[in-house]
């Protein structure tokens, strides 16, 4: 892992003039063709990505029209899987749960991450120390986080068994009640991912020109007004990026659900990716599972396209990532 050695502030060799002299990306002057790389430089990456993401995408579509249990050949059955999917109550429940999970994750994580990020963009020393603690959950895998919380929330063999009676709730058990278990998933994923989004907002807030605040101060604006009229509008791009990452990310909170609740109690936390896993890898209905998977992709793509529209990635501009 030597690549992780400190990057020495990313400082450039001294001979290099400041990087921002040329307008970035757009309107490049037609330089000489010499020394330009051919398109084949990008081919290995593209081919590699195609082999494991794009080709499988095609296979998912193909498999969704077949019946296949992993033995022999897939049998073409037309749109049977799709009609089944439309009428499958398990799928309806999973879709609703997934959407509710996305929305509630976003609603919980965004405000907290934004406020923490803006706060951390300040420059006092104690922030550094606190930030250091905040980042620890980022180092833990989803599997580890789920295991930790499962242990802490165990009603029989965990701290809950002692805390419950203290607060007048013996038998306090969050994982046996559907709504509570769902809340636990929202909370645990927030606990895990807020630090990441906090970083994004911190980076975004750092880049707001101080002159804007100085101007506001001259106008006599208070802290709240400055936040409302300067900070938030300036963070618009960051909010979009972070929101999309959250929403697409929440479509795949699979590890957490598998370990923490197993989709239960009953099916109260069975979100679409988990349902797909059970149908595909526990009941060997690869065809039907592919139809479920494709639904997941459609949702993810739709969200991402909206993101591309909003952030103007398509125009091939680099966003301001401060690299």
């Amino acid at each position: 892992m030597s690549v992780l050695s400190p990057s020495r502030d990313g400082r450039r060799p001294t001979a290099v003039p400041s990087a921002r002299t040329a307008p970035s990306g757009r309107a490049r002057r037609a330089g000489p063709r010499v020394g330009r790389p051919g398109a084949w430089w990008a081919l290995p990456a593209l081919a590699f990505f195609a082999a494991f993401a794009i080709l499988p995408m095609g296979l998912v579509v193909y498999l969704s029209f077949t019946e296949w249990g992993g033995l022999g050949d897939p049998r073409f059955i037309g749109t049977d899987n799709w009609t089944r999917l439309v009428g499958d109550p398990a799928m309806h429940r999973a879709v609703v749960l997934t959407l509710v999970l996305s929305v509630s994750s976003w609603a919980v994580q965004t405000p907290i991450a934004l406020l923490l990020g803006v706060w951390a963009a300040g420059r006092q020393r104690n922030r550094a120390i606190l930030s250091a603690v905040f980042f620890v959950p980022l180092l833990l895998s989803s599997a580890a986080v789920a295991i930790i919380w499962r242990a802490l929330l165990d009603p029989n063999f965990g701290p809950l068994a002692q805390i419950g009676p203290l607060i007048g709730m013996p038998g306090l058990d969050l994982l046996s009640d559907g709504a509570a278990a769902f809340g636990v998933i929202v909370f645990v994923t927030a606990w895990q991912f807020i630090p990441l989004h906090m970083l994004l907002y911190q980076g975004g807030a750092r880049q707001i020109p101080a002159s804007l605040y100085q101007a506001a101060e001259i106008d006599g604006a208070g802290r709240l007004r400055a936040f409302w009229h300067i900070t938030l509008p300036q963070l618009r791009n960051t909010i979009t990026t972070s929101s999309v990452l959250m929403v697409v990310g929440s479509l795949t909170y699979f590890d957490t659900v598998l370990i923490l609740t197993g989709g239960g109690p009953g099916t109260d936390t069975t979100i679409v990716p988990y349902l797909m896993y059970r149908v595909g890898f526990e009941s060997y209905q690869y065809g039907y599972a592919s139809a479920i998977a494709f639904t997941l992709v459609v949702v993810a793509t739709a969200v991402s396209l909206v993101m591309v529209r909003l952030t103007g990635f398509g125009a091939m501009r680099s966003t301001r990532e401060g690299m």
Binding site: M1, V3, L4, S5, S7, D9, G10, P13, A19, T21, G25, V34, G35, R36, P37, W41, A42, A45, A51, F52, A53, V60, L63, L115, L116, V118, W119, A121, R123, R127, A128, F134, A143, A144, I147, L152, P159, Q162, I163, W191, H197, L200, G203, A205, A216, S242, T252, Y277, G280, F281, A293, L296, A300, T301, S304, F313, G314, E321, G322, M323
Partner: protein
């Protein structure tokens, strides 16, 4: 990204030192909020650490929110006998493989996308953009089939290949961003020296993209270290088990010995934590970069 030095890992684009403006003054309300979050994050982490020094009995009766009356190292001693070393080693191999593939491929791709004059690369770029939207969960079934067909099932390679592939889009985007910051004049100077694409790449692009490269290395390493789905589906024997899967197995192995289980969780995080201590700045700026895309 220390909050004391004024230069984050960024090109010279931070504003010059300024007098303490609104946002640099202490904000008691925000401070309180941060403190609240500190509790939300800190208490579980504290409980986690305390539990690892408790005997199962004490954990069950006194709970991990106290100070252990009789701290013990037994859990740590016991954890080393459970195959943890193998799992960590496998995870390191996977991580190294993923980082190597991702760095080489995305640096080349980024260079082509930024500098190539063909319409092709524009299309390539869009492919990677769209690729961002493909969740790995969605294609796990065909990936599983492909891995089985290639006879890689239950090998570390089975985990490395798809993990690297799914880290590519984000990494290519981060790199194209940072490579665009290299000015045209420098490229032209290289061209005047008669340097071809290969030499320009090695002498100019790679050195100047160092911070971007460390960012993607960090990102890829985190993806590989914490990946769960690919190992879950594509491997199954103890010899190829990675740490996330190992922890999942431990749940059944340790049964109600929760301190033992949590100790394994802590130990599994130690390597990453050491990296964090050494390369905190690169890690943080790297993660910021993921968001910037």
């Amino acid at each position: 990204m220390t909050t004391t030095s004024a230069a984050p890992a960024a090109p010279a684009r931070t504003a010059p030192r300024r007098r303490r403006s609104l946002r640099d003054r202490p904000n008691p309300l925000a401070g309180l909020g941060a403190l609240a979050w500190l509790l939300v994050v800190g208490v579980p982490l504290y409980a986690l650490l305390v539990a690892t020094f408790q005997q199962t009995e004490e954990y069950r009766t006194a709970g991990p929110l106290t100070v252990p009356a009789d701290p013990t190292l037994d859990n740590y001693v016991g954890a080393f006998g459970s195959g943890l070393i193998t799992f960590v080693w496998n995870t390191m191999l996977v991580t190294a493989g993923v980082v190597a593939i991702v760095v080489v491929l995305s640096v080349m791709a980024g260079y082509a996308i930024v500098r190539s004059r063909t319409w092709l690369t524009n299309g390539f770029f869009r492919v990677f953009l769209l690729g961002l939207a493909i969740p790995s969960q969605a294609v796990i079934i065909p990936v599983y089939l492909i891995i089985v067909q290639l006879d890689f099932y239950d090998s570390l390679l089975a985990v490395v290949l798809p993990t690297a592939a799914f880290a590519l889009p984000v990494c290519v985007l981060i790199l194209t961003g940072s490579m665009r910051d290299i000015s045209d004049e420098l490229y032209e100077a290289m061209a005047l020296d008669g340097a071809g694409a290969g030499r320009t790449f090695l002498r100019l692009v790679v050195p100047l993209s160092r911070s971007g490269i460390s960012t993607i290395a960090v990102y890829a390493a985190l993806q590989a270290w914490n990946g769960f789905l690919f190992p879950l589906i594509l491997t199954q024997s103890a010899g190829t088990r990675v740490i996330t899967l190992g922890l999942y197995e431990f749940q059944g192995q340790y049964r109600v010995d929760i301190p033992g289980l949590l100790t394994a969780v802590v130990l599994a995080t130690v390597p990453l934590f050491l990296v964090y201590l050494v390369a905190r700045r690169s890690l943080i700026s790297g993660l910021m970069g993921v968001g910037g895309k």
